[in-house]
């Protein structure tokens, strides 16, 4: 009880404390970090393979930089307002503000935490020659040494401040996706605590393992834009949330139909468009690989949307709006890890499979197992992510990006993909569960039954949408 009353005060004090740290730490670390950034730009020069004899040319490519600035904005748009509207339309009217609030608040919290420590721990290493297998460096907290003239070896042709902002938007949307699983029944205070801890203890390590020089990337797991890091990660965390929180009051007996699918339509459209920043942006360059990812994304998404629509049309006799929108998101999710490794035919097949399988997961698996994943965060992102990660190992075409899958003579890639999937599932499931237990002990996870019945808009935020 007391913790809950203290939360706003703790939050404000935390912001102030971070501001003090931000002002003092980087200046202490100034010398070290400038040395570091020159080391990493040296590494970038080597990878860029553009040697000039006399004056060392800047590795920064203005075309790449322009595309990555754009991609950052596109991916941010996926969460606010995209995901907020996508989810907001699917809840009952009494919970719509609470639902859009979750996306917006997570955007703000993750931004602060990414600046404070997240980027440094996920994407930098103390010594570029010997990457940390488990976690990155803490030398770049508060973006120390990161600016217009520094370069991260992982993205050799753009300024590091652009790269860190681009990665920030991925860190924002991943926890926001989880909200679909516990929609309509989590206290706002509990959500804040859970999401802050989840970002630092689940997202940051897994992003480092796969993309930041950690051990999963080292194993050869292929994840172009975040099938494991973003979607399996968020989907499985969502399933754990749904199981730990339990069902919504009245689940199975009261009408929980979406209150406004036009909002969901707008949200799904923003997600689709924004996803070009997500997938094509993950080429971290304005080049043909980005073009491949863009085309793969478009084709897989359309295929999945149609697959979901036709399967549903067959099974329940009506082609629903929610169905085609859900199918599109399932396709976007599944093509995410594959988008920079497969050819367009592969993307097309991945889309069809994802649309059909995710329909089955949302409509049947959920009922068979009896959990209340309110907006199918697990059914679409967890299952779609697993489908995409596995099929990346099947359809990867070496002519696209130098990595072959099972269909191109490298069946071992499927096993490697399975390892990546398994490690992600275990880590996110266990750590999410622990964070939920701690959060529950601190502030409790659910509002009272009466508050839940009145709706989270009025009980959590003191507001409501007009008739």
């Amino acid at each position: 009880m007391n913790v809950k009353k203290l939360l706003p005060l703790v939050g404000l004090a935390g912001l102030g404390g971070l501001a003090v740290l931000a002002a003092t730490l980087p200046s202490l670390a100034q010398d070290a970090s400038s040395a570091l950034s020159s080391a990493s730009s040296a590494a970038a020069d080597a990878t860029a393979a553009a040697p000039a004899a006399a004056a060392a040319p800047s590795p920064i490519n203005s075309g790449d930089t322009a595309w990555m600035l754009t991609s950052m904005a596109l991916v941010l748009m996926m969460t606010i307002p995209g995901l907020g509207l996508f989810y907001g339309g699917m809840v009952r009217k009494k919970n719509v503000l609470a639902t859009v609030m979750q996306s917006f608040a997570i955007t703000c919290i993750v931004t602060v935490l990414w600046f404070a420590v997240g980027y440094s721990a996920a994407f930098t290493n103390n010594d570029p020659g010997a990457p940390g297998a488990i976690i990155g460096s803490f030398a770049h907290m508060f973006f120390a040494g990161i600016g217009p003239n520094s370069v991260n070896g992982l993205a050799g042709t753009i300024p590091e401040n652009v790269f860190s902002a681009f990665q920030m938007t991925f860190a924002i949307i991943t926890p926001a996706l989880i909200c679909g699983a516990f929609a309509e029944r989590m206290k706002f205070s509990a959500m804040i605590i859970f999401m802050a801890a989840w970002l630092l203890l689940v997202y940051v390590p897994i992003a480092h393992w796969v993309w930041g020089g950690g051990f999963l990337g080292g194993l050869g797991v292929l994840d172009f834009a975040g099938g494991t890091v973003v979607h399996i990660n968020a989907g499985v965390a969502g399933l754990v949330c749904a199981l730990v929180l339990g069902k919504r009051k009245g689940f199975g007996t009261t009408n929980m139909a979406p209150h406004n699918l036009v909002l969901t339509f707008i949200g799904a459209g923003l997600l689709w468009v924004g996803w070009f920043g997500f997938n094509a942006g993950s080429a971290v360059a304005a080049n043909g690989l980005a073009g491949a990812a863009m085309m793969n994304t478009q084709v897989a998404t359309a295929a999945a949307a149609l697959a979901w629509m036709f399967v549903e049309w067959m099974v329940v006799k009506k082609p629903s709006v929610l169905g085609i929108l859900s199918g599109a998101v399932a396709g976007l999710v599944a093509v995410t890890p594959a988008s920079g490794f497969v050819n367009v035919t592969g993307a097309f097949v991945i889309g069809i499979v994802a649309g059909a399988v995710c329909y089955w997961a949302a409509a049947h698996l959920k009922r068979m197992l009896g959990y209340d994943d309110s907006l199918d965060a697990f059914g679409v992102h967890g299952i779609g992510g697993i489908v995409g990660a596995l099929l990346t190992g099947v359809f990867a075409d070496a002519s696209v990006n130098g990595h072959a899958g099972a269909l191109f003579g490298n069946p071992g890639q499927v096993v490697t993909q399975l390892e990546g999937i398994a490690v992600t599932i275990v880590w996110t499931a266990v750590v999410s569960w622990i964070i939920l237990m701690v959060t529950k002990a601190l502030v409790g996870l659910r509002p009272s039954e009466q508050e839940e019945e009145e709706g989270l808009d009025i009980t959590q935020h003191g507001e409501s949408v007009a008739e």
Binding site: N255, L322, A362, A363, K366, D376
Partner: protein, 112 residues
């Protein structure tokens, strides 16, 4: 005096208004309501979950008239609101005990 209460399909309101206008009925109150009769409801399916929607949207029209006027008004509403399909609605006629016009304080038939 009588109070005529008609529950109709929302899509028929304009037809009903025109028919009543032709009978020189120049005042009515319309309320959005929900309910069901023989039509029952319908079902909606979202991602495989089926919800029965028992209460369907209808409009309730209330008209206060002098005694002799209620029969032609009922007939006009019946003819203009009818589609012939289940769910067309119902018309109720009640005795009206008293009426007061708030602006002038008139009562009875003068207030209609």
């Amino acid at each position: 005096m009588k109070l005529v209460i008609a529950i109709i399909k929302p899509s028929r309101l304009e037809e009903v208004r025109q028919a009543l206008n032709a009978l020189d009925v120049h005042g009515m109150t319309v309320t959005e309501v929900k309910g069901y009769g023989r039509q029952k409801g319908h079902s909606e399916i979202y991602r495989g979950t089926e919800y029965a929607v028992h209460f369907l949207p209808k409009l309730k029209i209330e008209i206060a008239v002098e005694d002799g006027q209620s029969d032609p008004i009922v007939a006009a509403i019946r003819d203009s609101a009818q589609t012939g399909r289940i769910g067309d609605g119902k018309i109720f006629v009640l005795d009206l005990v008293a009426v007061t016009r708030i602006r002038t304080g008139e009562t009875g038939a003068a207030a209609l």
